[in-house]
Symmetry: C2
Subunit: 182 residues, 2 copies
DNA sequence: AGAACGCAACCGACCAGTTGGTAACTTGTC
DNA sequence: GACAAGTTACCAACTGGTCGGTTGCGTTCT
């Protein structure tokens, strides 16, 4: 038997679950496979996390914030922020998948509205300060910015030849600059 | 028993499958449920389509083209094309879900490269004609354009308050115009 | 007749979740 | 320190139900 290490076991389960959920989604993930990956008896998973959906929520809550909060929001430098988001998607493609699965499978987003509202306010402030174009609403600016930044991870795998990251970043900068600078 | 109508049966199966796959994905879809929805015995599904994955591919192939080809590509009017794509996503959100699920679950995209290549060429032509900005590659232009057009369907459901469609379209026009016009 | 269509019932594999019990650590008592 | 009692981490084996896929037979049309 493995030596007793409750905390380590929890973490191994969560790590294995993150992989499996990112790869297969909720419906496609297999608890037995997660147990095998974590080198843990299946019963432990139920002891620690309740059931499959609760396990997914634990995985999701731990990781969802990571991507968004990993790149500091800079309303005065939207191109820089967009590139930061893009870098995040490249570093951790599994997080994007996790987010996408959650959306498709209808798991309540659970993103704190406060952080979002704060960003909206900051954009609005940048608009009145004359740094950001005033002719698009803050919500639409952020939505589109995120859309472009994520576009490679969403569209590229289907059709795009793998081209240089630097080129993507440059194009991204250009587009955000042109679109949203006052 | 239902009156004999092979072709109608095929179509009812395909329609029911489209709904169920769009809602639940491949792993989450249930053949029994599809059969019930189509008011068809399960065995009919296997007789007509082989197995679950083949059924998904049939659904996918029938619908994937629809969204892309429904809006004519107009290299000289990229904003108009973007709005067309956006309208498509609003009219048939299920198609977006289908596409997304196919991507996540690793079903070979099967988009014909010819159509894609043709669009790339048309953009390149528009660039040399001086209608489209020359400082971003055609592939990146198309990827980002699609990204912005799809951004509401991907990002909005998580955070955005349901705002007016017209506002989205106007913002979209503005962004594409500023980003890609020569 | 016979080919095409339709279906209820069935099957075997799989899978989320449970049980009953064992091994390792902790605490209390002398 | 030594030993027992209590607690926590762990797990192999099982269970009940679900799901993809099949079979054998009835029905309808030509």
């Amino acid at each position: 038997m493995r030596t007793r290490d409750a905390d380590g076991t929890r973490k191994r389960i969560l790590a294995a679950a993150t992989e499996d959920f990112a790869e297969h989604g909720i419906a496609g993930a297999r608890v037995d496979r997660i147990a095998a990956r974590a080198e843990v008896a299946k019963a432990q998973i139920y002891a620690y996390y309740g059931d499959k959906l609760a396990l997914f929520r634990a995985v999701f809550n731990q990781n969802a914030a990571v991507l968004v909060e990993a790149t500091p929001f800079t309303p005065d430098d939207l191109p820089g922020y967009a590139v930061g988001l893009y870098n995040g998607t490249m570093d951790r493609p599994d997080l994007i998948r996790l987010l996408t699965w959650a959306r498709l499978e209808g798991v309540p987003p659970n993103l704190d509205d406060d952080a979002w509202q704060e960003k909206l306010d900051q954009v609005a402030a940048a608009q009145t300060a004359g740094v950001v174009t005033p002719d698009i609403s803050p919500a639409n600016i952020l939505a589109m910015l995120a859309g472009v930044a994520l576009s490679w991870s969403a569209v590229a795998p289907m059709v795009l030849p793998p081209s240089a990251d630097d080129e993507h970043r440059a194009a991204l900068r250009l587009v955000i600059e042109r679109s949203f600078h006052a």
